[in-house]
Structure formats: C-alpha cells, structure tokens
Amino acid sequence: MALRWINRRPSRPLSVFLALIPFVLVITAYTLASDARRAVNPADKLLPAPAQIAATADRLLTEPDRRSGRILFWVDTAASLQRIAMGVVIAAALALGFGLLIGLAPTAQAALAPFVATLSLVPPLALLPILFIVFGLGEVSKVALIAIGITPFLIRDLAARTAELPREQIVKAQTLGASSFVVGLRVALPQIMPRLIGAVRLALGPAWLFLIASEAIASENGLGYRIFLVRRFLAMDVILVYVIWITLLAFLLDLLLRQLSRRLYPWAEAGL
C-alpha cells in the first residue's frame, strides 16, 4: 500500500531538487516568453533576454556614471538602505515605547489603543501631499512615510505581545518590589525585544513599498527613484536588475534580523 502523501517525507537531496523546480520553471517560462517577443520585435524592451539582463547588471554594478563619476547602483543602494534603516529604527523606537505603555498600563491602553487602531487603517499613500508639506521634500519626508506607514502596526503588535506576558511574571516582579517603571524596563522590555525583531521582519515588506513610493515622487537617488525613472523608457533590463537586487536585499535584511534575534535572545529560542 502506498503511503498517504501527508506521511511521505522526501529525502534531503530530493528536497533540494524539489525546491529548485519552481525557480527553474519560472526562469524557463521567462526565457521562452522573452524569445517569443524578440522573435517578433528584436528590439523588444519589455522582456529582455537573460543574457542582456546579465550584461546590464554588469554595467550597472561596475561602470561609474559619467556625470558624477560614481557608480549609481551603489549610490542608490546606500541611499535607500539608509532611508529604510532610519524609518524602521524610528518606527521601532516609537513602537517599543508606546507598545510597552499600552500593553502594561490600563490607562494608556484606554487612551491610546482606539486611536492607534484608527491610525493603522489610514492609507498613508493618500496623505503624501500633507507629509511633504510637514516634513519637506528632503530625506525627512521619505523616512517619515516609512515610519508613519509601519508604526501603527508595530505598536499594535507589541502592545498585544506585552499584554500577553504571563500575568504571573508581572505579579512576581511586584512582590520583589519592582515599580511600574522597573516592570516595564526589566521584565517587559527584554521579553518583547525578540518580538520586536519579529514584528520588524514582518513590517519590512510594507516598508519597502513605502520607500519605493516615496522615492518615486521626490528624490535624486535611491532604488525606487531609479526604477521609476527608467520606467518611463521601459528599460526593463535595468528594472529587473533592481528588482532582483531589492529581493536579495530584503532577504539579507530578514536573515540578519533573524540571526540577530538568535544571538541576542537565546532564551527566547530555547523556550520553543
């Protein structure tokens, strides 16, 4: 009798092979579609051949810009990473403060939770014009859009996690003489730090969206700016290189945060 498929476990090498299949399929499908389009119009820009993407990547990564003498690819990357890092750090700091407060203090919860819940529903993209006025058109507004976009989510998540801390621990800390502040600082804060990292990992997806959207409107560099700029000329080879790069960056950031969490909070993993 054949095993039920829920009981069938692939061997290690088979797993690796299986994991590659969808990637190979997508690349093959892309290549075929690209070939078909270029058979009709050899100058087709929409689906450039993989070889051309590679050539473009090579050019973007190595050739300095004629006007500025710098390699724009790295300039863009640095600018975008800086913006996203600042936005996320600001959001995380705000979320930590408000999350702890809302999660621990019933009074803060009553005052702020409904407001934060409402804020989290407001579409920040629609408020862009106001953001630009309040924060100017420089770096601040881009960082602000990212921060505004993800802070409500982070606050709600951290507040929920703080409120989920076993009541027993909070009581125990009080019997050891801890003030409210000390409970927040020594009992709640360290325990939600790993969760903060987890929440930031979840929020990175939206953060990239906001980054790209804000760079599209007012910027001189950045990954989103470049994509937006070359979109006008349908330079899909450039766009695809940037998309692959953004995906890779997102993956690396995620990995970094995961490792950081493992390193800093071993007790959080051991409990699982």
Binding site: N41, L46, R66, R67, L128, P129, F132, I133, G136, L137, A216, I217, A218, S219, E220, Y225, F228, L229, V230, R231, R232, F233, L234
Partner: protein
C-alpha cells in the same frame, strides 16, 4: 516680506532642463551672489507634486505650464507671476493612434492620457478641430506618464496623448501614427517659470537673479554650446542628438525680447480664455468657481481677462525687458 534665501523647484522636461544646468554649472550661484541672495534649485520627480509644493508655500517659484499655473496656484488663491516665458510646445505634445487613421477615428475609442494635464487640453483642442467632443470617445483613461510606454505596449490601449520624450519613444514603435500635435496649436502650451507675486514684489533682486542667470544659459544654448547641451541631455536621460531632436519641437525663446513680444501678443489672451474655459469645464478651476471668468489673469500693460477683482495670475515682462536691455 524681504528675505535673502530662496528656493525654486523644477521637474524634468525639455524646456526646463536649463534649470538643472544652472544649478550644476554654478551660473545660478554666480547671479545670486551678485544680488546678495541665495537661490536653491531643487529637482522634483513628480511634476504635479512640485506645483503642489509651490502652492503650499514650500517653494518661492516653480517651473510650470500656463494651464497648471492657472488651475493649481492661481485657482488656489496664491497670487502668481509668470517671471520667465521659456518656450511653447511646438510638437512636443501629441495625440498618437495605434495603427492607421485620422482624428475622426478616435470616436468610440478609449484614449489613455494624464487626465487634467496639458495632454487633456491638447486632446480637447484636437477633437474640437474636427467637430468632436470628449463624450464621443469611448472613455478617457487616466494613465500615469511613468507607465505610458508600458501601457501603449498592451493590446487594450488604442490611442494615447502624451509629451516628449515619451512621444518620441512611442512613435518609434511600428504602426504608431501621430494624429495631432502641439504644433497644430502653436503658442497654447506655454512653459513658464512662475514665482510668488508677493515674494517678487518684496524682493525684486530675486527676479533679477533668476532672469539674469536664465538668459545667460539661453545664450549658451543659442550658441550651440556643446558642453551645456550635453549636460542637459544627460540629465534628461538621453544623448545630445536625442535632446536636440526634442528641442526641435520646442519653440525656445532664447532672446528675452522674443518672449516679451509673445507675452504682449493678443493671442495670449485668447489662449488663456480657452484654457480657463477648459479648466472650468473640467470643474477644476478652484472650489466653487461660478464661471470660467472666476480667476483673473493680468497681461503686460495692465490688461486683464476674467475677474479683474480676483487677479491671481500675472504675466510680468518687466524683468525680461531688463534682460533684453542688458540692465541686469
């Protein structure tokens, strides 16, 4: 109120590329220094956002068309002066059909364009010229200029109205037909540098510095200065040949005198009345505008169209005249 630090915004378009070059080459700084002020020139990707920012007060001046100046800052109560008339579109904006055909064939077809922009105005004028109106079209689909080329590549799209360099790019595609362009309505789509009227009145040096610097670059362009033109070409994402091709469909006013003459021409009044009517028809001439005459426009020598008691848009040739007379 008097001040010494000024900011103007511009966005990438063939006739406004000199602004980027002014900042980059240091010509602007030189002129600003001469009048003891500083002028920061900021490039903004999104054209509409740059005008919005100006209207909201984040900038003292902005590069804009006559139509958008009337609808956004002037319609929004910000008294605005056209300080420099840079050029008018002479083919840079075009109505393009996929496949063979004429303007009449647009009837019953959907048209993709940036709604409420000069493209929309061009389309209205084009349809007008063959006795059609917008309601004869299947629909008008608002399409971001950034995605116009990709949109044109999809089977859904049958006709587009857009501007350069997108027009050049789209016309390269096999089977694209240009039905109508801005050279058919010369002088109606005007590219300006507009500044806040109050700021200008309080700080005439600001106007002098801008105009002086601008016409220095105009001189370079008129003299076919390779370095300047190449810098502008690259900043706009093309090469020298491509940029020159775009300039060919742009009627640049290299001489301040020519711009002054254009401003003083009666045709300008007619154009502005047309534009006001178009804007009113689209319902965008300010909140609760009772008629197309709601916003007043003032011309050189004090003539006005629209509501003379609500003048918010002024064509001012004073500074361009100073440049023409070498008085800067």
């Amino acid at each position: 109120q008097e001040k010494t630090d000024f900011r103007i915004a511009w966005s990438i378009y063939v006739g406004w590329m000199p602004w980027g070059y002014l900042e980059e080459s240091g010509i602007m700084d030189k002129w600003a220094e001469k009048y003891g002020i500083t002028v920061e020139i900021v490039q903004i990707n999104d054209y509409v956002e740059s005008i919005n920012q100006y209207t909201a007060g984040a900038f003292d001046g902005v590069s804009a068309t006559n139509m958008d100046t009337l609808s956004i800052p002037a319609g929004g109560g910000v008294d605005t002066t056209a300080l420099i008339i840079g050029d008018y579109s002479d083919g840079n904006d075009a109505v393009i059909l996929k496949g063979e055909g004429t303007l009449e064939d647009l009837a019953g077809k959907p048209v993709n364009l940036v709604e409420l922009s000069v493209s929309h105005y061009l389309l209205a004028r084009a349809l007008d010229s063959v006795g059609l109106a917008e309601r004869d079209l299947a629909s008008v689909i608002n399409t971001s200029d950034a995605d116009m080329i990709a949109a044109y590549a999809t089977p859904d799209v049958e006709a587009v109205v857009t501007w350069n360099p997108l027009v050049a790019e789209i016309l390269e595609q096999p089977g694209a037909t240009k039905l109508f362009d801005s050279s058919d309505i010369p002088g109606e789509i005007i590219d300006l540098l507009v500044v806040n009227t109050d700021t200008l009145e309080a700080n005439p040096d600001f106007g002098k510095a801008l105009v002086g610097a601008w016409y220095e670059v105009m001189g370079l362009m008129a003299a076919n200065d390779e370095a300047a033109l190449t810098a502008m070409a690259e900043a706009s994402g093309t090469d020298l040949a491509g940029y020159k091709a775009q300039l060919a469909s742009t009627a640049m006013f290299y001489e301040p005198g020519a711009a002054v003459n254009f401003a003083e021409d009666e045709a300008l009044k007619e154009t502005m009345v047309n534009v006001a009517e178009f804007l009113f028809d689209k319902g965008i001439l300010g909140e609760g505008a009772p008629s197309a005459d709601f916003v007043g426009v003032q011309y050189p020598h004090g003539a006005t169209t629209g509501d003379a008691n609500n003048v918010k848009f002024r064509f001012n040739t004073e500074y361009m005249l100073m440049a023409a007379d070498g008085g800067l």
